[in-house]
Each structure stands twice: as structure tokens, then as C-alpha cells.
Amino acid sequence: MLLDSKCPTGPIETRWDRHRFNLKLVNPANKRKHTIIVVGTGLAGGSAAASLAELGYNVKCFCYQDSPRRAHSIAAQGGINAAKNYHNDGDSIYRLFYDTVKGGDFRARESNVYRLAQVSVNIIDQCVGQGVPFAREYSGYLDNRSFGGAQVSRTFYARGQTGQQLLLGAYQALERQIGLGTVEMHPRTEMLDVIVIDGKARGIVTRDLLTGKVESFFGDAVVLGTGGYGNAYYLSTNAKNCNATAIWRAHKRGALFANPCFTQIHPTCIPVSGDYQSKLTLMSESLRNDGRVWVPLKKGDARAASQIPENERDYFLERKYPSFGNLVPRDVASRNAKQVCDEGRGVGETKLAVYLDFRDAINRLGKNVIKERYGNLFDMYQRITGEDPYELPMRIFPAIHYTMGGLWVDYNLMSTIPGLYVTGEANFSDHGANRLGASALMQGLADGYFVLPNTINDYVASNKLDKVDASHPVAREAEAQVNGVTKRLLEAKGSRSVDSHHKELGKLMWEYCGMGRTAEGLKYALSQIPAMRERFWGDLRVLGNGEELNQSLERAGRVADFFELAELICIDALNRNESCGGHFREEYQTPEGEAARDDENYSYVAAWEFKGVGAAPALHKEPLTFEYVHPAQRSYK
């Protein structure tokens, strides 16, 4: 398979403009004759659904939650980047582009990233227009803060609830269209398959989570904005119900899956407290603006933090990376935290944590300023741990947070199935091997508000599609398959719950395909997963039936997909014999312990083709070329 990224060439500043000009348009009066299916209502799906409806398309929109307002974008805390340079500190579109390509450890497409930086400025305008209550200066103008991986202040924020406010903006735009009748909204409805007819995505098969009704919906194109796959690891910062089912089932229908091993481990999460742990909670990266990360110099130092004098503390990020200090990118911060814990210098009961200390910032700025900046995060920490972070340093540890990998898409955000578009975290395109903080919100909204509504017209205008309905044999086959899986899950009649299987998989993945990976460990994981998957199908207990709300049944279907996806993550990690970004192969590191890339052999996107469950997937490579940002070893020293 030839992977054509359709990236424009020529001067990077004008690529998106020239590309847009060359795309076909659909006459405004004709748009209402076309239906677009949008799955997922987070920043990437909700913004796309609202914008497409505003343009005049008929939109059918789906989410598994009870309301489109609850998608997990809502939990993003810190902020959203934009190259506004409102603060005259040397920022520019080019610098945001440069920082993102470098931050992604040179594994992203330059054309995509430049476009992302360009439209970042429009996103802020749009969100302000919608009434997103961004933080303001006393002048009434927009405030900014700095974030990891950048030396300029370009992050716009709404307290520690930026994702919530941006999502409510998109949600309200979507609800406005629902009220106008241009969007048909289907909450509590899960997409379980893509209907591909004559090689084109023409619809989806869904299951109504309240009634169990399996149904097909059709349109001219399908958009998946269904988020990432971090929950393959069981414990992650994702919402409990986040899942990979939509993208995985699309993958099984022919969409290539790109760079699955690029998973992001966020350095500042609240550590695990026990076996019952159901999820991990992130503490925003913005905390690293004022918090200082440290561990005791001595191994096994059991003293309370306040009893450890200054000269016996190791502010390891400031020591190793004097110019970025506590604001090094996430992959670097996470790896260093793991390293000091491996050395036996971790803190807290489990010794799997480091301190994030606000003592100096509180002394310098006063408690009130810190409270104004991070009050809700401090409250959240206090609720979860029972400790007061104004008095005691926070304990933090890395956790799976975001997945840079996802379905392969071209510059138009179309997957390898014509008519199937993928936006936001669900695609792979913009962050390379590591995403910078405050860039996920930017990408989700860029895709949904400004990229997809421009590129999808070209497909709609260029393809004359026959009308199809549920009587089509392909739709009937897909529905039968979905019903078959439901039946199989209900009839397994084993002894173990879905969660017990999921936890087992998660532990294996975290151990062998987490922060540090080795060929040996990955081979071990690959030897275990098929047997685990068999145990899942053979010894699963799902009670209740398929004709009413059955949360165990929902989870079982999602976990079944994680058992397949996990294998692909490990295969990809084993294939990539280099360290880059979030993918750290212990065999490949510099003498100082930094990630050692192999540009000669691995400067490509690894796009995998599904060949059957348990069968080796086929690798297709999209070579990456860098005309503007010259690959170099990332240095934050």
C-alpha cells in the first residue's frame, strides 16, 4: 500500500492556503443534501459536528455518555497554546511550529504541524467569541502562562479548567445546532463498526446503550473524534469509559494504525494508593511553573519532607536541565522521576513518588497568589490524598495520559478508508513521539473547527455516492457481527469479571511497555497477551442481558478490543529500535541517559495494516522529511 500523505510542497507558510484553494467546494445550497456522521463529542468531534452543521451539512452525532458535554476533553486542566505573541516575548507561528516538531522528537509531519500553529490563533478568537471565560489581566486583555517544552508564554487558560471551558464552548455551539435541527444527536449510543461499501466509509453500526438496539446509520462521510487508547493500560488519567473501540474496529475494516507505541506518560499524577485504584488523577503540568520537583539525596531517607534540610534535597530537574529546569517536556520529566525512584530515592509509602513542592513559591508570592493560580488543583489533591499541599509538598508520579499514535490520516485528516476522517487524539498526525503540554486542546479544536470543515468538502464534491440503507448486505453483515460479539460476551459464562481481566492486561503493559521498554520485555509481553486474551474470552463473566443498560457488557466489548490493540502497541514498540519521545527503549540511550533516536533507520511513520486477530500485521512506512526544523538531539539543558 502506498501511503500518500497529500502534504503540499513549496514554502511552508503558504502550504495550507494553497492546498485549501485547490480543494473542491460544495455549493452552500447543496450541503443540506449530504449527511456527515460524527462519532465522539469531545473537542475534536463536538467542534467538527457544530461547524459542519453551521456550514449546512446534515449531521448525525454520537457519544457514549449521557450528554455530549461529558467527553473527556472536559478534564484537561492547564491550557491551550496559541502563537498570538500577545506578550511580545518572541513567540511566532514559526516558533510554535518549531517547538512542536522538536518537542515531538522529530517524528511528526512538518506540513501538519505548521498548519496547526497557523490556525492556533483562530482557535483563541473563536473560543473568546463563544464566551469561554479565559483568564484576564487587569487591563481586560487575555492572560498567558508558560508550559513545559517552551520558553515563551503562549498558553491561554481558564483557571485549572481550560478543557472544561473549551468543551462547553464547543458543546454549546453543538447544542445550538441541535436546537436548530441540523444535528441529530444520539447520546448513550456506542459505535461498534464502520460500514465500508465499495471501498468507502458509508456509515456506522451502533448499539443503544439503554435498549441494546443495534442499528445502522448512513451518510456521505464518517468522522471519528473518539479520543485515545490510554485505557489499554487500565490505570491512566483517561475517564473510566474512554476506549479504543471506534478506532480499533475501523482499523479492522482497513484503516491503518500509526505509531501505536507513542504513548505519553505524564509526570505529575497522584500516585497509586492501592489495588482498588480505578484511575489516576492528573495534576496539571502548569503546576511545574511554580512547584519544584525533588527527592532526598540519600537513598531510603524516611524523614518527613519538612525534616530534610535544603542541602540534602536533590532538585534533580533543575540540576540536570538548568535552562528549562522544572519545565522540561513531559517525557523527560517522567523518565527522570522513574530514574530517581529506581535508585531508591522515591518518597511516600510506596516509594513510587517524587515531591512537587510549593514552599518557595508560597514564600515568594504568598499563599493567595498560589491559590488564585492553582486553587482548584490544590483542593482536588487535598480531597484525594487527605493532605494539604499548602503545608506539605505534593507527591506525584508519572502515569499514562495521552496517546500520540492513532489512526493514520493524510493532510486532509482522511484515513486509508476513503470517506473515513479521524480528528483529535484519535488520529496520529501532529505530535510525533511526544506531545507538548497545552497542545492537545489546540489540535482537537484545530481539526474540528478549521481543518476538517475545509477538507471534507473536497471528498463530498468529488464522490458521487449511491444511496444505501440498512438492507445493504454489507450493513447486514456488520450488524450480524456486532450482535455476534455481544452474544459471545454474554455467553462466556466464566468466573472472572471484566475488570479483573483488564487489570491483568494493564499491569503487563505498564510493566513491559510503559516508561522503559526493552526488546526482551516486549517479547515477553507478546508471548503473554495471546494467552491472556484467550483467558478473557474463556473465563469472562458478564451478568444481565443485552436488551437493557448493562455496564459490564459495554466494558467487556471495549476490553476485548484492548486485548487486540495491546498486542499491536508491543509489536510497534519492538519494531522501533530507537528511543524517541514517549517511546524509551532502554537499549538506546545516550551516555547521559537521554533518548537516542536513530534517524537513519526510523525517521518514518509506522502504519500497521490489520491481518487478523493474532496474525502479524503488515508494516507500511511513510518516510518523514524535515526541510525546516533540522533533526538534532533534543536538548533542554
Binding site: A50, E54, R69, R383, S495, E548, L549
Partner: protein, 256 residues
């Protein structure tokens, strides 16, 4: 510690709810309330009994999906805290907890502790937005917003749409929810042009959904996990009156 639960269980909206007693031994005080329910459910599955259905998703207090009455209090006893952020250290050994779903005519019960809150979405669809299509907005700094207004707007915008206010209100009024949205948008210059139309549309929709009126009891404020203040309801009533005096609306009664 040992916790005794009495959970309102029903197969579906039509079925009669029944309080069922469960014991959860060995509850760790570090657990969240929902993790304690997870432990109960794992235990039920092992025994071959159907697990208790409850809504949840982010488990970090922001998505608004979780919530039930705990001993008559929406989201339980801790102020400013969603059910998922309530931790078991709040309780003591042997505590008896009665769990019931949100009860309101506008929130039909779906199963066990799960209710249908789509009425809240319809309130937003009726008018809870600023009508700006993608691409229309001017530069972000073209509209300065006084810091005070931005802060007050943000206080109201923190609403997570969980429905606790409705569940706790003796009148099942959605006034705190509506007031929060109206204050969020109405306090900003961007939201000013539609301020009258917005309040009228949302109030009319609330009536159609079967939400009750506000009689200033204040239980909503007491249980709101985001501590939205009653002021937003006063502001809504002021806006409603303003819209009425301007003579734009067809609705003539008091808003809340």
C-alpha cells in the same frame, strides 16, 4: 472499616424501586466512594448477582456524570465535592449509607442509580449559547473583558451539569443550573446581545421540561459540588424582568 449500604435498585424506569442491603467489609479509607462501589460490584459479580448500575466517567470531579443521594444529600456529606471525589475517610466504621438516584419528574430513572438528565441538554439547546459560527469571531483581544467580569463569569461557568441542584431542591427546580449558564454568558460583553432572548428561551424550556420554580430555599447551593452561588438565580430573575419590561417575551410569570 465496614460500611453498610442500602441501595435503591430497579431494573428499569417502570419497575418499582427496592432498597437492598449490602455490606462492604474491608473498606480502605483511601478509596473513593465509587471505588468502594466497584469493590461491592466485583463482589456481587463473583456471587453471580448483577452489579449496581451507576453513572460515572472522569472520576476527577469534572465531567458531571456521577452522583446519587447519600443519606438524603446529593453527592454525599462533603461540601463542594462530587461523589467520585468523596473519599471513604469521610465515613467511619459501621456507617449505614442509603443510596438513591436523583429524584425529579424531569430526570426519569433509567436503572438503579442511573437517571436521564437530557432535559438539561435541552435547556442549553433552547438558548444557552452565544450564536457565533466558526470563523466569525474577531481577534481575541478585540473585546477586552474586565477581570472582575471574567472571574464572575468563570465562577458560574464552573457548573458541571450533574443535576445535584435539581435533585436536592424540594421543587425540583433547575434554577441554579440555568442561572449559572445565564451568568456565565450574560456577564461577558460577547454574551450581551442575546441576553434577553437567552433568559426567555431557557425559562420557557424549563417549564416545558417539568422543572419546578425557585422559592429561595437554597438547598441547591448547599449541595452544588462546584459551589455555584445563589446570586446567579437573582441575576436570572433580574434578566428575566429586564427582558419582560423590554416587552420582547411572551412568558409573563416570574422566571425562577
Amino acid at each position: 472499616m465496614r460500611i453498610v449500604l442500602h441501595i435503591s435498585r430497579q431494573r428499569n424506569g417502570g419497575a418499582k424501586p427496592k432498597l437492598v442491603r449490602y455490606e462492604v467489609p474491608n473498606v480502605n479509607h483511601e478509596m473513593s466512594f465509587l471505588e468502594m462501589l466497584d469493590v461491592l460490584n466485583e463482589d456481587l459479580i463473583a456471587k453471580g448477582e448483577e452489579p449496581v448500575a451507576f453513572d460515572h466517567d472522569c472520576r476527577e470531579g469534572i465531567c458531571g456524570m456521577c452522583g446519587c443521594m447519600v443519606n438524603g444529600l446529593a453527592h454525599g456529606p462533603r461540601p463542594g465535592t462530587t461523589l467520585c471525589q468523596l473519599h471513604m475517610r469521610t465515613f467511619k466504621d459501621g456507617d449505614q449509607l442509603y443510596l438513591e438516584p436523583w429524584r425529579s419528574a424531569a430526570f426519569p430513572v433509567v436503572k438503579d442509580l442511573v437517571v436521564d438528565r437530557s432535559a438539561l441538554d435541552r435547556l442549553i439547546a433552547a438558548g444557552g449559547f452565544i450564536s457565533v459560527a466558526t470563523g466569525e469571531a474577531p481577534d481575541g483581544n478585540a473585546i477586552p473583558v474586565p477581570k472582575e467580569a471574567a472571574e464572575r463569569s468563570m465562577d458560574a461557568a464552573a457548573c458541571i451539569g450533574c443535576g445535584a441542584c435539581v435533585a436536592q431542591c424540594p421543587n425540583a427546580s433547575a434554577s441554579l443550573f440555568m442561572g449559572a449558564k445565564l451568568a456565565h454568558l450574560g456577564l461577558l460583553p460577547q454574551g450581551a446581545p442575546e441576553r434577553d432572548a437567552r433568559v426567555e428561551a431557557m425559562v420557557a424550556q424549563a417549564r416545558a421540561e417539568g422543572f419546578g420554580s425557585c422559592t429561595n430555599i437554597g438547598e441547591c447551593e448547599a449541595v452544588c459540588p462546584k459551589e455555584i452561588k445563589l446570586d446567579v438565580i437573582a441575576l436570572m430573575n433580574r434578566d428575566f424582568l429586564h427582558a419582560q419590561i423590554l416587552g420582547r417575551g411572551a412568558v409573563s410569570e416570574n422566571a425562577g
